[in-house]
Subunit: 218 residues, 2 copies
DNA sequence: ATAAAAATTTAGACGAGTCTAAAGAAATAA
DNA sequence: TTATTTCTTTAGACTCGTCTAAATTTTTAT
């Protein structure tokens, strides 16, 4: 039996490895879930015993196959619930994260499958993030982060890679949603900030914002 | 902040007082949530400190106003989720209890209100049990338990007062659902068992089954 | 190459919620 | 009304997940 705390650690390790493609460090995990490094060390020992991670003291940690499957299934649940909240209950995309963080821990395979079916087997959640299938397959897109685009390229927003209210509220303010047409006008080399055109209005955004916007070209 | 365990204790006290109209005893609570009397004693002390119950050592316990409101809101959530599971996700009524027991602890007032709205503000759940409103009002019916009916009375099943898979599966087997027409043919004084007619078929059921069936006459 | 800094682990403690065993209070029966 | 049974509470211990402080290992900088 896996506990709620354990699930959150697996998710944190998953999220870190996703971004860095490296082993997750104790401190990175502590940051991710806002706890002390000591607590993380403790928990890693326990997860190691349960064979959910591959861990060597002082050397960082990665998920085992078992742990990876579990993490994927939690992400699947999180994204399905977010889709439910936005598509069926009319939440807006900045409001759903905290509730989905609770719902993702509900234990019932049948519930997840029926929810999936009820939602019409969505491939992407309201933020454009891929929803892993029942078998753990993760849908792909050829979208790339806005800050990696070449100047004068046009595209369309396919997703965001940060699920934080303040970020999503800012996007809404900028008139940026999934599907919005966007053109990269200029990259400022001084601070990597970007001038963009959204629906015939010019805007200026930081690199920090741009790197969390996934764009599909043309 | 109220914990999951505390919520379950409040619910247990609520359920016991509902049936007996008396203060709940330590042992009754221990039975209800399958724990030891010692654990219950411990928890009652804590709930007392939080002013969620009115408790005198050795004298039993009842909910305070605050505790009562909380318990009602948990019941509201439980029954809304059961309604969602049956009406939207096509679970059958015997399968929903355990999942709803998890979902009822999700913390988000907005979620509950939006779910209520999405379901069309239902007054009764799939078992015919009343769903408390946002203000804590509990819809009433004039239905009475089948075992209290007079012989030769006809009526319709308006609800069941036990949410256990084995019971609900048995009802399904007997062709009894919400809305089913029923006639009480005979009460056996030896064991209080009952002969009934359901959809032109005669059946024989125990008093234990009958007392959990709510019937509206005529 | 070694000293300093940073990262990580260990040690010891705590609160929540549970348990068993034992003590104490209340109810019941002779 | 006293003895016995039943119910309830207290005492002490355990696990889980957390913490701070201290010890240890690794990395970085001089």
């Amino acid at each position: 039996m896996i506990t709620l705390a354990e699930e959150n650690y697996l998710k944190a390790i998953w999220a870190i490895s996703l971004n860095t493609n490296e082993k997750a460090s104790t401190n990175a995990i502590a940051d991710e879930i806002s706890t002390s490094a000591a607590s993380v060390s403790d928990m890693l020992r326990k997860l190691q015993e349960k064979e959910l991670i591959k861990y060597e003291k002082y050397k960082g940690v990665e998920l085992s196959e078992k742990g990876g499957n579990l993490a994927t299934s939690i992400i699947r649940k999180h994204r399905l619930w977010e889709t439910f909240l936005v598509n069926k209950l009319a939440f807006n995309w900045g409001e759903v994260h905290d509730v989905a963080e609770q719902l993702e821990h509900i234990k019932s395979d049948e519930l997840v499958d029926k929810l999936d079916s009820f939602l019409g087997f969505p491939k992407f959640d309201p933020h454009g993030e891929p929803i892993p299938t029942k078998d753990g397959e993760i849908p792909t897109t050829n979208a790339i982060p806005l800050n990696e685009l070449q100047t004068a390229t046009k595209g369309r927003v396919m997703g965001v890679t940060l699920d934080e209210k303040s970020f999503l509220d800012y996007l809404t303010q900028l008139n940026i949603r999934i599907g919005t047409k966007i053109e990269l006008l200029e990259k400022i080399s001084f601070d990597q900030s970007l001038s963009i055109n959204i629906e015939n209005t010019n805007q200026h955004i930081s690199n920090d914002v741009a790197k969390h916007l996934l764009i599909k070209i043309k």
